[in-house]
Symmetry: D2
């Protein structure tokens, strides 16, 4: 095990730990840890809601999820010698649930959860079709996930960090605030909102105190979106063995990470959509001096996925186009066409006996693939979603006899406002 540089004690809240992380992006947050190029080290990560979601059969906690508190991140980690303009090379050596703890109240202790946010509190990809809150608990058995809320399905998790990135420069941060503010201004009262502005309430800013805290909290960026610095990219392919290259915007790079996922489908379509957990991540860092200009990587991570992802060889795929459910034609809207592909997959799975929300949860948590298949054939883009058939314990492919019927069991806990 590499040296543990950012420990977390599962019995204590995120704000009561030996080292304090953060839940906003700001260049002034001081480094909590210092490492050197070539170093390998272990970091503990807390699940993104710091224990607010429980291993039970009620979705009230997801309905009331405290979105102002996320994501609790480990870091910043300063890398010696990193300067703006460099590329920070991050090798994901290993990662997983909380080591040596396989039961307990904290997601990552042998279990994780997938949630669908209520439209009034966050929403999600299919929030018009699923306006209420739902929750599914997944049990981990080695690399495999199963759920009492979604029977007849079992899959090898594609473990990855949902969120990792470097600190923004002051200039970059102000650009974020400006452009996201402009967007919010287009419809400030929208539910769910178009974007999340800086929010001092519940801000955690590592070692910042007093006036410095107040100033930073007022302008620090929320962690929900991915941005130039990486951030909450939710790329399911950041698996063990992956090498990521991050742009460096501040001295020391200030790498932070969190939001570990035991598994996730492309898109994380339920928003709280991966299998959320806390755990550990082992990293190794290097620098490519001046790499941003040399390789033309001014923003957004580039990466090379690892070679131990779960292998499935038979897939059942669904396609969608950029026409809304009520028949309105949109212009090359790949977001919409992926929604339609996912809705088709949900419709299909319900013919076997699943409730729609069970099918939705499968798409959010299992290692499904979502592809931009056609993006130029005006006016319809075509997106496709691929389900590995081997995750089901019944034959999920179409045949002359019609769909087999499964027992959907107790179903998915639901909670509405």
């Amino acid at each position: 095990m590499p040296e543990l540089v950012f420990p977390l004690d599962s019995t204590k809240r995120f704000t009561d730990q030996e080292l304090l992380g953060h839940n906003r992006w700001h260049p002034d947050i001081p480094a909590a840890v210092h490492v050197k190029p070539g170093d390998s080290f272990r970091v503990h990560c807390r699940e993104w809601f710091d224990g607010a979601i429980h291993n039970d059969d009620s979705a009230d906690d997801v309905r009331d999820a405290p979105l102002s508190t996320v994501h609790v991140l480990s870091g910043p980690i300063a890398v010696e010698g990193a300067k703006p303009g460099d590329l920070l090379v991050v090798d994901i050596l290993d990662l997983g649930p909380i080591p040596q703890e396989d039961s307990g109240p904290l997601a990552g202790q042998g279990w994780g959860y997938t949630g669908i946010f209520a439209k009034q509190n966050g929403g999600g990809f299919l929030t018009d079709q699923f306006p209420d809150a739902y929750k599914v608990i997944w049990d981990f058995m080695g690399g495999t996930a199963t759920s009492r809320h979604v029977p007849h399905v079992s899959f090898t998790g594609i473990v990855h960090p949902g969120l990792m990135g470097t600190a923004p420069s002051a200039d970059l941060l102000s650009r974020w605030n400006r452009r996201e503010g402009d967007l919010i201004a287009q419809d400030p009262d929208r539910v769910p909102p178009l974007a999340l502005p800086p929010l001092p309430e519940d801000a955690i800013l590592g070692g910042l105190e007093g006036d410095a805290f107040e100033r930073a909290a007022a302008e620090a960026a929320r962690t929900a979106p991915p941005r130039e610095n990486g951030g909450n990219q939710d790329i399911k392919n950041f698996t063990k063995g992956t090498r990521v290259f991050y742009p460096v915007y501040v001295d020391g790079a200030h790498l932070s990470m969190g939001d570990l996922h035991f598994s996730q489908g492309d898109g994380e379509i339920t928003f709280c959509g991966a299998i959320e957990m806390g755990g550990f991540i082992d990293l190794r860092v290097e620098l490519i001096k001046g790499g941003m200009e040399a390789y033309g990587v001014g923003e957004n991570a580039i990466f090379m996925p690892g070679n131990v992802d779960p292998q499935y060889s038979q897939w059942l795929a669904f396609s969608g186009t950029s026409v809304t459910l009520d028949g309105t034609q949109h212009y090359l809207d790949s977001h919409l066409s992926y929604q339609r592909a996912c809705l088709h997959a949900i419709d299909y799975l319900t013919t076997f006996g699943y409730a729609p929300e069970q099918a939705y949860m499968i798409l959010g948590a299992a290692p499904i693939e979502g592809r931009l298949s056609g993006v130029v054939d005006i006016p319809n883009s075509c997106s496709t979603v691929y389900l590995p058939t081997a995750i089901f314990d019944f034959d999920v492919t179409p045949g002359a006899d019609g769909p087999a019927r499964i027992d959907p069991g107790m179903g998915v806990p639901r909670s509405s406002f």
Copy 2:
């Protein structure tokens, strides 16, 4: 070889063949061929522009590409007993370039092409960055493609039909025309257009004649977009061994196909973007009676990809978010985030010495993967594009020494208005 039911003679134009296909969708086009469930058969397909694009070093033909003439399709093929509400099961047994012909003036005779349309004549995914016309010729060697216009790259093609589908019912057709007309009406003079309305000019409607032809030509749908019936989905994973399930909207199903691609990246991002060719396709058909309702498949093909796709195990990936190049924040726009990911990949490849249009062509033609990685993290969606590193004959991964420099050769022919 299964029985050849739709032959094409490479020495004759599409309209001078023994059997006449079509280039518009309309329920009244009579079946050119009749088959039975369980039948296997071969169909010849002409490249989508019927020979208008040549194997030379000028892009004038792509600049002036006759968009009113596409796509020339083989069919309709009536399947005995197929009724609206059934699912038509289509097995892609085999497909490839024009058999026994490896040289000649027709794409598919040992070569194919990738084009970038000029903004004034079609446009494309990155038309603001690449407003002119470009063309690349690819040579086929077994399953491998190489190009004099894009040196240092060689890849195993992922051969598939870009377009296949069943005939729409009259009702479905009128819905298409209504919704697409509504879209066009929002900006009728846009260049490139928002959608393509029915166009009697250059319409080919199989056996229709006289008044019936005129009536149908005035309302027949263009073939560019994918729609409920499948159509121009450009799904690169429709490879040998694939099983596709199409909704049936008219008696006999009336299956048609064309637009064969020797290879294509996810998205077909250059529009004329796959490696276009004519060739053959061997199919087998079956029916699932009443399958549309039984499986909840009211529209859009579902499919199971084949298991002989080219295997690559090392990938270099790029990510993008829904912020425009000039810094405007959009709301969860996965189309935009895929554009940004592709532009990042292009920027990267140019640091090795490629011209931007060479890099763009690689993304259009090679078996790259495009994924909807994050679609919920407001306001930024995150899309990713994966390049197989083994297609390059130099080391394309980032390292401490900076990018190796390749000789880009003669470059990509260009033509502007």
Copy 3:
């Protein structure tokens, strides 16, 4: 299609063709075809028994298979400039059954066969357990094989040439004859024989005539075994896209090939064990001058398999050790341990209802993997055999309920002396 340099007419016997191939190895056989480095070309190949095995339900033809006549090979093909000491680079661009012919009396015309030789006429890997002759007919549907004699199984073929190689030098040939003669002399009357000596009867030697023919026929090597020149290696991974490097022993290299297989499991354990067929193969040749010494490749082909092999992700595997069925311990005998692993697989499959010979045929023809798992743990080597579970249309994995029972159908035709 590359230029066809070695055509075969399906209506004529191998000895009545425009160009005459050969069925023995000898350096004096003159080149039938001349090509240059960099050339691509097509070669037709006849199935190894030249039509003696029929598409019917009797195994008499396999019982009486004329082993003195095999393998009918296409070539020799002289490569301009090739000299002893070079490596001949052969790219397998494409290959398949007889093009444009999907029915007829010749294996390769839409069908192929797998045989088990009788112990008295050839024998095989498990000849003590299966002393009689058996035959299975497989039908090709695109890339897929099925059989009326082995129901409930269907697999993607792993198409490859069983036999390809360069001509031996006179010196190499004499070494072969000496060492194989020494082996035969150890037990000259063994049934089946230990090796096959030169046999003038039924020898075909291309353009050799008169005394030259007689002299060569008396010493020409049989084609059954693989040797330094490649030859009958029966490596199932010589698939489309493969690059093979052959040692060159004579001027012009004199490449020959044949024994095409639609599919085969590792080992070709039934001897006549792949799915045998005639067909075509498209090749491209190059030279590495002096490559034998430069790369230390004095004998036996080295190769890089193609990347479009059928992909299966779930396997059921069986292990065996070097103890005979009657309990005698052998010392690190991987041949024996593979026999035991295969016998275990056969025993297992019979519990589902297959006859033992049906199971044996599956192992011979489907793309199973056979591995040398442990070769040092005295006194037992451990070999393993992997079956792709997806080739069965029932659940072939072990479970608490015991094996499902399938209907074995008409079974495998058998014939005994």
Copy 4:
């Protein structure tokens, strides 16, 4: 983490632990642990020589390796309700090096070793070519192994237990002793020996004491070979996610395991040939009552490999036939043909600058594939060995320019008698 039922303290010798394992097979060894069907649990495993091999640059420890002491095994674990005739289902949930310890004197604490035994002390697959002792130390970085003794190579380990199995019945044990004794009697003084007879010296038999110990020690089977009960199969594909089915020969099944490997090539050709380490393994057990007869599995494990093995898509392969280096023809000897294939691979790698023993070590430790390609083509079997080209940091494929030359560095420590 599942409950730890068999702990090992890295600071203490195997015989000084809280629970005592064993290093011989005998039905009388009492269970050290009791579990129930459905239980998941963790087991610690000590490296097979209990710390006798050190992380240094001398091979003296391998030369003098105490073969009488191996393999130190964890167990026996009794499974409630298991009866002779059942199949014991073992799921390998997870496994890896010693958790939370990445440096220290014990293999598994961040490092492992590969050894070649001297011919006078164990020997190995190529002992005639490599009669001395050699040792290579590998460092673990996440899932990757590199070595100061073998530069320019780096690979993803294929982690697995080399040895796992159930206890033999008294009858089965006596059969082993009889047949192996018969073999030894054929050449009792052979070096290396043909097999290893029972050896009371250094025997560890768990809880057995006094007369019972003496009696059992005199007849207990050595652990080197794989046998009917599984045992030292060294199957590299027993990776995370694998399900193994073991025959049960005694009440409670009495499962034991050890000999963890960070990685290994097919065959474990250097004998001490995998990357040896201690560590942990998480297992889950179930029973199929009466499964041995129901599925025809009377002996030798059957198994389904996991789906997270390292993926490589480009391979360089070598073939060999059953002719000895001095030109003697053997009859269908797949053991010999695999030796020849491996020797060809070694010869090849030396042309790039590696010492032969470096090449041998790569073949022993990296996830190479060894296949029984042809086993029927009298008199030559054909075996093949596949190297993943991506494990080298230089281009290892053949080309016109000849092999690149690498710096072999300090080389492999060697020690001779």
